[in-house]
Subunit: 248 residues, 2 copies
Amino acid sequence: MGKKVKVIGIGPGTYEMMTMQAAEALKDSTVIAGYNVYVDLVKDHFPGKRFLTTPMRKEEERCRLALEEAAKGEEVAFICSGDAGVYGMAGLLYEMAKDFEGVEIEVIPGITAAVSGAAVLGAPLIHDFAVISLSDLMTPWETILKRVRCAAEGDFGIVLYNPSSHKRHDYLQKACDVLLEVLSPDTVTGTVCNIGREGEEMHIYTLAELRDTPVDMFTTVFIGKSTTRVVNGKMVTPRGYAIERKED
Amino acid sequence: MGKKVKVIGIGPGTYEMMTMQAAEALKDSTVIAGYNVYVDLVKDHFPGKRFLTTPMRKEEERCRLALEEAAKGEEVAFICSGDAGVYGMAGLLYEMAKDFEGVEIEVIPGITAAVSGAAVLGAPLIHDFAVISLSDLMTPWETILKRVRCAAEGDFGIVLYNPSSHKRHDYLQKACDVLLEVLSPDTVTGTVCNIGREGEEMHIYTLAELRDTPVDMFTTVFIGKSTTRVVNGKMVTPRGYAIERKED
């Protein structure tokens, strides 16, 4: 057995939404590392482990601690919310592992918010879609808006992560303004907050309504395609079968 | 308990890559419906169930059978590979459920190939990405190529589903030609076939090499962003931390 950090996507938060492979890897570990909020979500299911947590914004420190423990021979499970490869720490761990000879990285996938949030709203994605984070901490805001525009021009289903924060309370509004230059104001949109956790809530809006709706940082936003409809209170994008049959 | 069809994403195929929530829903069901290939993947883990399968291209029939069973009071689990809301049957079931009064749809999310394939390749997505199917069975080919172009112009990580079939052996090549109009021929790309199943294989290519590489229908293709690199044989997109620190 070589030295290894297993980077594990735990999904939206509840234990049951983790894969069996992820739960097994956590059980097999001796050390569980991660952002303290995520570690708290799973802690009770894995007694007897050593927990290694750092607060938000301490990502490099967190990765380094995990790699050091693996280098010492510990079985390290590094947890991320959602999937470790979608706005998660898998990339940074691969890069930093270059300085820790003999330590390998293994990614164990998890359910990202695009997929878990879609399940709550109905079936908003179904076909081609784009995932964009509105956080400009590490991406220039112009790049973000360009991506929003490209996704709208391609008639992708669009999922917006990090639509708000303390400092960025009007970013969703600005993104909607770009979307409204391309898409109909009646485009079906939806929001889900606290996916898979206590207080889970979904709402469906037109794009014009969404523009003037405040959302918090625990919300994921879905912009429908031109074909997306509201069906029995759910946001549904047809794959085309029903339409096709009618045209036969 | 109302009448319900639970639409369940089983992930890439192995039992362990299913969420515990999905396995629980399958255990609680009386009838398991789905495409015969996917049902065969999970069958042995759920003895004593009634299995209701139809072959490929019989999606509407499959959904109707499942809805009819639920209307009769059966606990129906309808399985899709990957996630039921990403190129899956969740949308069609919502639409068809309108004709089955009192039958509800619940989507239980699963690991889609964008996420499971990324975990095999390393960390190719990490940041904003777009998912596009190259199947033109239900989408005009021009629309597909337009989306490929929009995704390239937005510098998204790109995941291509259904890159090939018996009739569409040159579609990936055509998509690469569009990508090459926008992206560098040295762009890092990767392929994964048989994700999470026997015969799983990953390869990394430049975009120019990928253009001339034949792939089969069990392959998922990943196109990197401008920042994507090969790190220790893995395809890795940096999130920006390492770069940022160097500029401090």
